[in-house]
Symmetry: D2
Subunit: 449 residues, 4 copies
């Protein structure tokens, strides 16, 4: 567990808030990951009763409230032979959900929602549920969409959103708010937040976006603005740390089956046929691994976490020959552009075959389904995930938390400091059972020298 | 947590096996749910090295082995205000996975696989993965399918299965082994197991089937047969306790969206239109609840866990008027036949409308998609689940465990005593947040007097 | 060909219009089905140049115009042994498409669109394409949707429609205009058309609706109103005569495959399993026949055109026992309610089995997918059909034709008198090859005594 | 109609067969396209009664038989202003279907089935229906699949096929017989046909394959072999002449919607977004045109039939700059490899934008769904088409016709000389209404200078 908090704060965490102090200090064996809170730097914040109190659908709201003492254990798998923690505390996170006391008068909330980075199934559902949840659960009436990603804060006019406007968005792929990469200008963004008088900022994006969100949160704290910032981690690649998985991932694995099936058919219909599918994931192979285990039509699965060698020569991004022009290329976020490993692999396979089997047929069909995967609407599992994620974020913000992320930990929605999430990455663990199963299922060699 | 073990056994659990005794007894704060083991009643069992040891795909098998000290915590959500357990131990379960020492010579294994009860997406995948896993991971060559459910043990000839025979089964709905309800005759079944010389029995079925599996296990133990029995819980309704969810459930929720969408279209296309969908679940509303949260097109969601009243009169199975003939009707398993609450509700709604709005149109379209849901092939998520489930079961059986069930607990595959699973049921908790969210999302009243 | 025009008018048809008179009368071997035209009863109608003339997308519009001399042959299959017509003329229909001269100033058009009867995939596409076509091809700006079917003319306020309003409608099932059955009040409807000053009426509906449209057309002609009426035949059942097929039919056959597959899986997964699917079609079996030929999983296909007998007793609507209450029941259009032949068949099969195989299992799963079929969005084939259908209707109306229907004849879009279509029905011809193929493919007996 | 027979043979066609001579010669206004027949060059052929005569499913077979006098009109659309044919005869084709007398003893039939060229949805259905039809309609028991395309005749062992072997093939994409391009060696192929004693050869392939089939037919005729050869035209691109459309085309248009939807979502979710989809069709734009009209999400549709110019420079295959290596490249059939016009267009668009809008964002997402389209199973419409196509071919071959193709003409299945089909191509007519509609629907300019 290399990604955990280096300095777990022993509970009670001393935020000075009344609820926290009600907790008995004898539970010294539990460490609770502290969340930033508006009260950390804003004076004299007023509290309000959660309007759920008067909501007929929550006729016994008391039983639904989550208190700061509701926690979720981080580690749940142990090898008792290596000891069960007694001296060191169990790391826990705050459980997500509505709090009895909130730090916003819904009447004065001005919420901004922005989507950044690439497309991911479920983006529109998250936006929709933020709007519907703020409107219906808390009675917030001023909710705005920021168009075009981070640069939209300072270059476009916010779009007012209400439940009617976002009706049916959850059935559409992409993001109706539009998204871009890059455009992160910290001062301009926070200035815009201030001048637009937004006091809740919901940022939906991937790891780069989360790092930007940390900076926005820190700048807001530095300016002592009464503005909560929350991140809703979005990556179809599932490479965000700490949380169980990110939204859109299940849909991506499902949709990838179409490409795998097509490649399988192409391979089986040819005399010496190979079907090659490139699945996205930037530098992690989660989609490839899960799609392989789900399909069983795959004979070989290569992932970035595992170097592979072709005829004694190593492969991978670093090893694909690049022209000088390609060496210079960067995307809008300033990252080096990844080369098309699929196209390269296809030509390598053909070259090898032509050399060793000069008189035999070979058919290699290469499929890159990236945009046909990431642009689809979310499936039911992801739609539900996005709903719970958005509602969790809203409850956390209304409770005054800031600089945090919502997400499932061991199946339960929790609040996690933005910084923790921005600093960790989730890659495929090639030492665990799933990867061994992939190799066993595919019967592939290890491609190591 | 009413369903937990009444007598948690403090670890070390004293099975007499060497690995268990290696554990330090100082971890008194953890209770490990004991699993039945062949060594409990069979003398002088020989152990063998797991053939994964020589499998090139597991070239460092040591790192993949799971030992009896690998455990999973049962409870992971706490309200610290109510105390974190110090005096009472944490309940844990054995983690699923391959063991270094196994209690079967693969060459002598004769495995039987049977499916019982109703259809569920993923049945064929589970069968296929049991066959492929036994064959490829352990080198087992004598694997048999029992046709027609429990009665097939004593009334049909077992069908030899191998990877070629089960190829592509994971893409088909239903069960190619065929299934029936009822037919449970304990003596005949165990006699057949004995006479066919099966020493591994994999039973795939729902709660009734699991109760039967307990009896088979107990009878086998009574006869001191060297036969391991494992249950693979199958219920599209997700009403099996302890485990996170059952296979096929995600597929069912996904497929239910079609019916909901159709009902929504029918309702919106009529002047006063109502679309009524009956989703299965016998006496639990998991599918209805998840399908509602995933769809957002639902205005009202009724589940068996929540009584409802129409115009002051209570409703539910007990309250639908039955003819005398209907009162007598039983299904093959001897359970009373559930009445068609959807048809009844449709007529009630029409009756009420005709009385109160005699001159206005009303259109009620009623959809019962049950067989169109349960007969589909599993989606990618469930296909993966079924693969991991089958492999977990195989590893457990090879390790000599018996009378157990495999399944995910808090996201990790664990082994659970069959008896525990057979005795618990998972119903919708109408006091938790998801149900409140359903009500909030649908804006439905509470239908209580 | 019992449905053809009893009095084919020999061309030239003497409408008095200039274009018609340009035709040489020597082609006496061709009979052209005359269409009603506004000039038949309205005096001094002005003509205008088709605005396509100035449309950059039709930069050589001359080549796109269809003239009244463009015709489509009705009969194209002949047995030469029975003679090829020499003395009797070939029946032809006017080909659909834009005319060079139109009888409306687009600026003065007020178009009304209404949908009546049951749902059918493609309804929204037809509406959308009528709006988009009128707007973009002809520059019409006053287009109105009539809500709730025929009764909407006199009981609701028309809804203004424009391309933005109908954007994306073609991807949604049902009809956003809402539909009802019944509500046909001739005088009220024509009064409303007059008072609303509609001069183009597009009526989308089934055979009952088309009979209503004939009456509206005749009443309008009686009042000598300058109003064109056109019917767009809608029936998922494909039971409308003369035209090749109706929209939504391909989608219905496609969607029915899901139900058939589910029934097939249920049957194959049981010991003695029967899967029973009821496909809609009121009194014609087109969907059942096509779905059977498309699926190949069907062992027996029953259609209303073919009586069948169970154990010596005849079956069919007339033969299902009805209670007295059922005998009285009528739907909103006044037609007798059809009984659920599927439910009845299921119970008959069970009764027969219980008598003849008292000790053997039987599983009958009955699926009625009606609303899950008719409420889906149209597939690509039907979407294209709907587009061409709507554009054909617009061109015909702008050309001054009235009391007509558009539809494909032998693959080409034609104009057909409303009366002809309203008077004919298309049933499955059990004497042709398709039905023999069904029987051959399914290996079913003829079910006749 | 440039593709029609240059020498239409006035009926009776003088084949010397008895049925033909029964026809009255007075129908001089009809020309019937003569089909090659085994009796043209094989002496003393015996005839047999069609076994359908004894088939209980065709209990009145007389009414199902098709005679040589059953014909289908080729031209059905006329502009009467240009004259209706009186002096020149109407071209007609033989109608497909079972004949009363057949020229094969089913017991002596040895049928070979081969698939050549690229994949197309429905290939497996055609194979399956040929097998099932020969087996069940005619009682043929020796049916063989030739693997690997034309080269399989002389390089692989034929695979015996029966209904059990091909069960469920219609639900799978690709071709289970495997296919290759090239490998056409006339002498080896006909030698193999002779030595294997095949007397019926069913060749499924595209235009190149059909040209090969003509040569095989001619060589067989030269050798006076009693072997019938029939072509089943396969091209997902719909570029085969005379017939209405080819199988797989509807499925391709349907599946293309996914790519278009994804491109649409990508475009709408970006600030200045363009989604670019390349649809297959080699040198015809049928799929692109139909997919555009079906989708309505397309803003611009380019097809090979219509040259286009980018900024004054012409584009198209001839105009894409090629490297010297690319100029040499040929595919297995010896055709020049087509360049990736999509990739080139993407870079051109980016270049133009960078020059003219240097400071504005642009996102171009390019999708090439080719293999995800052509490898899918056929939809219901195509499945039905393939069934009727295969049965038509069987009936024609059993009736002694050879060197012919089956396919729908104006919606009815007909027999057409192989030579005619091999010599014609079906391209998009940019002068007809559909293309104008595409331009009107997309609002695209004409891209001409």
């Amino acid at each position: 567990m290399a990604m955990v908090d280096p300095l777990p704060v022993i509970f009670p965490n001393g935020t000075g808030r009344q609820e926290d102090n009600q907790l008995d200090s004898s539970f010294s064996i539990v460490a609770l990951r502290k969340l930033p809170h508006l009260t950390d730097y804003v004076q004299n914040l007023q509290t309000f009763t959660n309007p759920l109190e008067y909501n007929p659908f929550y006729h016994e709201p008391a039983r639904f409230y989550i208190s700061p003492s509701d926690v979720i254990l981080r580690q749940i798998v142990y090898d008792l032979a290596s000891g069960f923690p007694v001296a060191t505390p169990h790391l826990t996170y705050h459980r997500a959900g509505p709090r009895k006391l909130i730090f916003y008068d819904p009447f004065h909330v001005r919420a901004a929602i922005v989507t950044c980075g690439g497309l991911c199934p479920g983006l529109n559902t998250v936006i929709r549920e933020l709007v519907v949840g703020l409107w219906e659960l808390y009675g917030v009436r001023r909710i705005f969409g920021i168009k075009a990603g981070y640069r939209g804060f300072y270059s476009t006019e916010p779009v007012p959103l209400d439940p009617k406007a976002v009706n049916n968005w959850h059935k559409r792929g992409g993001t109706i708010l539009e998204t871009t990469r890059g455009g992160f200008d910290l001062v301009k963004i926070v200035d815009a937040i201030e001048s637009r008088r937004f006091n809740q900022v919901y940022i939906i994006g991937g790891d780069g976006t989360m790092r930007g969100a940390v900076k926005i949160f820190e700048e807001i704290r530095r300016r002592k603005l009464n503005v909560a910032v929350t991140g809703l981690p979005k990556t179809v690649d599932n490479d965000i740390g700490i949380i169980d998985r990110s939204f859109g991932f299940h849909t991506a694995v499902e949709t990838a089956q179409q490409a795998i099936s097509a490649a399988h058919v192409e391979a089986e219909s040819a005399v010496n046929g190979i079907g090659l599918v490139k699945l996205m994931g930037r530098s992690t192979g989660h989609i490839a691994l899960h799609a392989t285990l789900s399909s069983r039509d795959v004979d070989c699965c290569l992932i970035p976490e595992n170097d592979f060698y072709l005829e004694g020569e190593g492969a991978g991004q670093d090893l694909i020959p690049r022209s000088d022009a390609e060496k210079e290329e960067k995307d809008e976020s300033g990252n080096p552009v990844l080369l098309d490993v699929g196209g390269w692999l296809k030509s390598e396979v053909k070259r090898w075959w032509a050399r060793d089997h000069p008189r035999e047929l070979l058919t290699v069909k290469y499929i890159d389904p990236t945009y046909m995967i990431r642009a689809v609407p979310p499936n039911a599992t992801d739609n539900l995930y996005c709903t719970l994620l958005a509602h969790s974020a809203i409850h956390g913000v209304m409770a005054g938390y800031t600089g945090f992320v919502s997400g499932p930990i061991n199946g339960n929605y929790a609040y996690i400091p933005l910084l923790d999430v921005a600093q960790t990455r989730n890659v495929v663990n090639t030492r665990d059972h799933k990867w061994a199963w992939v190799r066993s299922v595919t019967n592939q060699p290890d491609f190591l020298k």
